[in-house]
């Protein structure tokens, strides 16, 4: 452990696997995982909408499970594997430059407008479909109820969840 030369604040070395690559940075204990991803690692695809765990925009996958990165400290992520929106396509096995099935489904279904909440939905839906590969529209609606969107009225996001399930089936992922 080192200290910040100006402030004397204790710094901790955090090593995490992010989108398949090992990333290390020195951060104070209070650094949120969301700020760690955005500011320390430059992964600005993860968005911070409320910083109190309600909106879900900052959701990332921690060891494959959806987690609100604004409610987790970076030091707690030590040794864990994190997937952000930037890594979703590769995680799905899509070829370089292609999109993952959930991403493609959101485009096909017009499941995003301003796009700010979208990364949180994509990560949430990715994890959901891994354990629930064939949801009904009602189940899809329930599955995304922890993420807020102000633009779409959720209609096309529900459609996108069901479409993503079809694409995963088609691609044999």
């Amino acid at each position: 452990m080192t200290t910040h030369p100006a402030t004397g604040e204790a710094l901790h070395t955090v090593s995490v696997v992010v989108n398949g690559g090992l990333r290390t940075a020195q951060v104070p204990a209070r650094r949120l995982l969301s700020d760690f991803l955005r500011h320390d690692l430059g992964l600005t695809g993860t968005h911070v909408g409320c910083e109190h765990g309600v909106c879900g925009a900052c959701t990332v996958l921690v060891d494959g499970a959806p987690m609100r990165s604004c409610l987790m400290f970076a030091v707690s992520a030590e040794g864990h594997e994190i997937t952000t929106v930037e890594g979703l396509a590769a995680r799905s096995g899509a070829a370089e430059g292609d999109l993952g099935p959930v991403q493609q489904a959101f485009i096909d279904s017009h499941g995003l407008q301003c796009g700010f909440c979208t990364p949180g939905f994509l990560t949430t839906v990715t994890a959901y479909l891994e354990s629930n590969p064939d949801p009904t529209p009602d189940e899809a609606r329930e599955a995304i109820s922890g993420n807020l969107c102000r633009c779409t009225g959720y209609q096309n996001i529900v459609t996108a969840v069901c479409r993503a399930a079809e694409l995963i089936e088609e691609r044999g992922i």
């Binding site: 100006a6 402030t7 004397g8 104070p28 209070r30 955005r38 500011h39 430059g42 992964l43 600005t44 695809g45 993860t46 968005h47 911070v48 909408g49 409320c50 910083e51 109190h52 309600v54 909106c55 925009a57 952000t84 929106v85 930037e86 979703l88 396509a89 999109l99 991403q103 959101f106 485009i107 096909d108 017009h110 995003l112 407008q113 301003c114 796009g115 700010f116 909440c117 979208t118 990364p119 994509l122 529209p137 609606r141 329930e142 995304i144 109820s145 922890g146 993420n147 807020l148 969107c149 102000r150 633009c151 779409t152 009225g153 959720y154 209609q155 096309n156 996001i157 529900v158």
Partner: protein
């Protein structure tokens, strides 16, 4: 080899997947908060916890000593250079307004107002140091409740001597556009029907998902401002005007912007402060608000009391409508704050042929967050009032609510129709939209089910709500806006640039933040110029690229902004036609243009647009005197507003034992003229409907007795989640607009305007037989339950009380009136 061309015959009307999504879906986004510039400093605001207080001292010494703090600026530090924030819409010549400092100097007028800013090397250090700024306040009495404020019981700004900012009146008799309302009401009191109601439009918060963020870089020749704004052009003009910086030295960029809904139609204290901090330090500065700051300091919306008097004949033909509003401005006048209720002034008459109309609005200051535009801005309030009243009139007459509307609405053969407000509605077909909505809804079956449930005293009752709305949007006609004392015009600008390789750049003065302009404008231009959709690049949101524009709000982008694009494209074609004629050795009059190709009429000689573009670029062989340039600009200023309309039907189930409401079915059939992209249209309608439903059922900005916003997080300000929504049925009928080339009408606000009264009408309809004729929004289970328990006697037609309670001093929504027996509507 066969080439399969799966392109649509025309791009317009095709459900193109959005171009924007390619970057948004992979996190390749450019939100303002994503920006990091060399040497960038970070801001944290110190905000007042008091609604109204005198600032007696600000001690920032400890903050200035904190680690990595570069500077602290207080109101005292900047009072001579910060100017005052502008209001662009003084609705009357004698309108009163306090000066509006970005950093309060000696007094704060709402909880959340900024009193100091800390500038530090990291956001965390700025926030830590902000805690160390010691501000001493002398608390003053706060004007909080709107009616008490209107009565000047406590003054929000003592120096003004009153809380009334302005009173604005429209009277159809005086304007010569209709008859005398008082005469209509007097006549109706004798054998006709007079319905008097008072409705509450609760205060709402736009609650866009991206918190506002501002970056200012003072290090270049120009001051560059990145802002999560709907209105970069306004930000440029007002930064120049407020801070005395030459406009030519300011560049404003709205990069990816995460929703707005009117909430980012503003020139904000935070923008000014970020510029002040950057100029003070000489370094790039960034401020990104927290969600709690956003909810308390980004402007709010709605917040009106509506006193309504409707006169009708005994058989339900409306003879006059009188509207008396109190509108809560909050503590200050923002960019268009005073004009928001005025935008509703001409819409209370809605789709109807009312012969007489009177509107008065009193704009009132309180010590709360200031209000301003929120999706619909004035028109949802008007639509709510009239659509609630029409349901009440149907009950009085004893007919179906759709029947009462049909008796009063403008028939499709009457278009173009000049309303009692003097506005000319260009096109519409209320009969067609309503017929389609009834069919999709299964109206008759649901009415039958409702009757069965009533007969069997089912504890869960069914109600059907109707909302047949229209709105004036496409905020535009500069002359009309000028006649309403709005400071700016309403035109929109565009340019079309033909690149040598045949690609096309479209520059638009609109500034999208989720609406898909890049896609829709590409579709329009692809058709117009006969080029592939993919070959069109739409540029926007940077005053150095799109130097001229009036931005995005009021459902104006398609009907005004895209029309400018079309006209610029047509100018390109006309220039190219001259070149084509030259190359084809024909006369210009004989040249036809279609599908991207110029042909000589009656021959098979042709020149593709790309060939003509190259010829203009190389300039080797052009007609004598022809300027080698096909690029064109256009500025479009329409002569009229856009008047979309629609019929929305909602079925709500109400558990009479708990007050719980559940949406059973929702059908929206909108007539928005020609549709450019049905996918985007459905998205706009969906989102709008859910925001409007949220006003009916869930959302309210609530203040405590001390003037503190208690719904100050997304835990307390309950915007809906997916679990709160059902699958909506959305369809369209089409009456093309006659005021633009494609026949389009605005769609951005339609859903939010239409849905609120549909939901409340449905809830009231479900429990009307229990004696309820109104429930105040948001219709929480507690309010519904209380209304049912408080109801007495029959809520059916024609009780004497229903026609006279205002006279008896018992307005429906006012819990303090002491006589809220009309449906127990607290």
């Amino acid at each position: 080899m066969t080439v399969v061309d799966d392109r649509p015959a025309t791009e317009v009307g095709s459900p193109r997947r959005r171009k924007e999504d390619a970057r948004l879906i992979v996190g390749r986004t450019r939100w303002t908060d994503n920006l990091t510039l060399p040497g960038m400093l970070h801001l944290a605001m110190v905000r007042s916890p008091y609604a109204h207080a005198r600032i007696t001292s600000v001690d920032a010494d400890a903050a200035r000593q904190a680690p990595n703090v570069v500077a602290v600026l207080t109101g005292e530090d900047v009072k001579d250079i910060q100017g005052g924030l502008p209001c662009a819409w003084p609705i009357t010549p004698d309108q009163k307004a306090p000066t509006h400092p970005s950093i309060a100097v000696d007094r704060v007028a709402f909880a959340g107002e900024i009193v100091a800013v800390v500038i530090a090397r990291s956001p965390g250090e700025a926030r830590d140091a902000a805690e160390l700024v010691d501000v001493e306040y002398d608390e003053l009495p706060a004007a909080l409740e709107l009616k008490a404020a209107a009565a000047d019981q406590t003054l929000a700004h003592p120096d003004l001597g009153t809380n009334t900012s302005a009173v604005w009146t429209f009277d159809s008799g005086a304007a010569g556009t209709g008859g005398d309302v008082e005469a209509a009401i007097s006549a109706a009191r004798d054998g006709g029907i007079v319905i008097e109601r008072e409705y509450r439009q609760q205060r709402l918060i736009p609650a866009f998902m991206e918190p506002r963020s501002f970056v200012c870089d003072p290090t270049g020749e120009q001051l560059t401002i990145w802002s999560s704004t709907q209105v970069p052009h306004f930000v440029r003009i007002f930064t120049a005007a407020v801070l005395g910086i030459p406009e030519s030295k300011i560049r404003v960029i709205a990069p990816d912007v995460g929703g707005g809904f009117g909430g980012k139609l503003q020139f904000t204290p935070e923008e000014v402060i970020t510029v002040l901090a950057a100029r003070h330090t000489g370094k790039p500065c960034k401020y990104t608000e927290t969600r709690s700051e956003s909810l308390v300091s980004a402007h709010h919306g709605r917040d009106q009391w509506q006193k309504l008097t409707l006169a009708a004949t005994a058989d339900g033909h409306v003879t006059g409508l009188k509207v008396e509003l109190l509108a809560d401005m909050g503590a200050y006048l923002g960019l268009v704050t005073p004009g928001v209720p005025i935008l509703g002034a001409f819409m209370f008459n809605a789709i109807y042929t009312f012969p007489a109309y009177h509107f008065t609005c009193r704009n009132v200051f309180t010590n709360k967050t200031w209000t301003d535009a929120y999706r619909g801005a004035g028109r949802p309030e008007a639509t709510y009032a009239i659509e609630r009243l029409m349901d009440e009139l149907a009950v009085e007459v004893g007919v179906d609510p759709l029947e009462i509307r049909e008796r009063n609405w403008i028939r499709h053969e009457q278009f173009p129709f000049t309303s009692v407000c003097g506005l000319e509605y260009d096109s519409g077909n209320y009969e067609a939209a309503t017929a389609r909505a009834k069919e999709l809804f299964g109206y008759d079956d649901l009415r039958a089910e409702q009757a069965r449930r009533r007969a069997s005293n089912d504890p869960v009752q069914l109600g059907i709500g109707v909302s047949t709305f229209t709105e004036m949007c496409g905020l535009a006609p500069s002359r009309v806006l000028g006649s309403l004392s709005y400071a700016a015009g309403g035109w929109e600008a565009a340019s079309v640039r033909m690149l040598p390789t045949g690609k096309v750049e479209v520059v638009t003065g609109t500034s999208p933040h989720g609406q898909g302009h890049e896609t829709a404008w590409s579709q329009i231009v692809a058709d117009r110029l006969g080029v592939p959709f993919e070959d069109v690049e739409v540029l926007h949101g940077d005053t150095q690229v799109a130097h001229k524009g009036l931005d995005t709000y009021g459902s104006r982008s398609l009907v005004v902004g895209a029309e400018a694009v079309i006209r610029a494209a047509d100018k390109v074609i006309e220039k190219a036609r001259v070149v084509a004629a030259h190359l084809l050795e024909a006369s210009v009059e004989d040249i036809d243009f279609a599908n991207g190709s110029f042909t000589v009429r009656g021959t098979d000689s042709a020149q593709a647009m790309a060939e003509v573009v190259w010829a203009a670029f190389s300039a080797h062989n052009l007609p004598d005197g022809f300027e080698p340039n096909l690029d064109s600009e256009a500025t479009f200023d329409p002569v009229s507003f856009s008047f979309p309309h629609g019929t929305h039907l909602c079925a709500m189930e109400v558990d009479t034992e708990t007050g719980q409401t559940t949406m059973r079915k929702y059908v929206a059939v909108d007539d928005i003229g020609t549709i450019v992209n049905p996918l985007i249209v459905h998205g706009q309608v969906h989102g709008g409907i859910v925001q409007g439903v949220a006003q009916a059922l869930w959302e309210e900005a609530v203040y405590d007795d001390a003037g503190t916003l208690v719904s100050g997080s997304l835990v307390d300000y309950t915007i809906p989640s997916s679990a709160d929504t059902i699958s909506l049925t959305v369809d369209q009928t089409t009456s093309p607009s006659t005021t633009n080339t494609l026949g389009t009408k605005g769609v951005g606000e339609a859903g939010a305007i239409a849905s609120t009264p549909a939901v409340v009408n449905a809830i009231v309809d479900a429990v009307r037989h229990l004696g309820v004729n109104d429930i105040r929004m948001p219709c929480t289970p507690e309010r519904v339950w209380t209304a049912i328990r408080g109801a007495s006697g029959s809520g059916g037609p024609s009780t004497a009380a229903a026609a006279s309670h205002l006279g008896a001093g018992a307005p429906n929504h006012d819990p303090d009136s002491g006589a809220a027996t009309q449906g127990g509507a607290q």
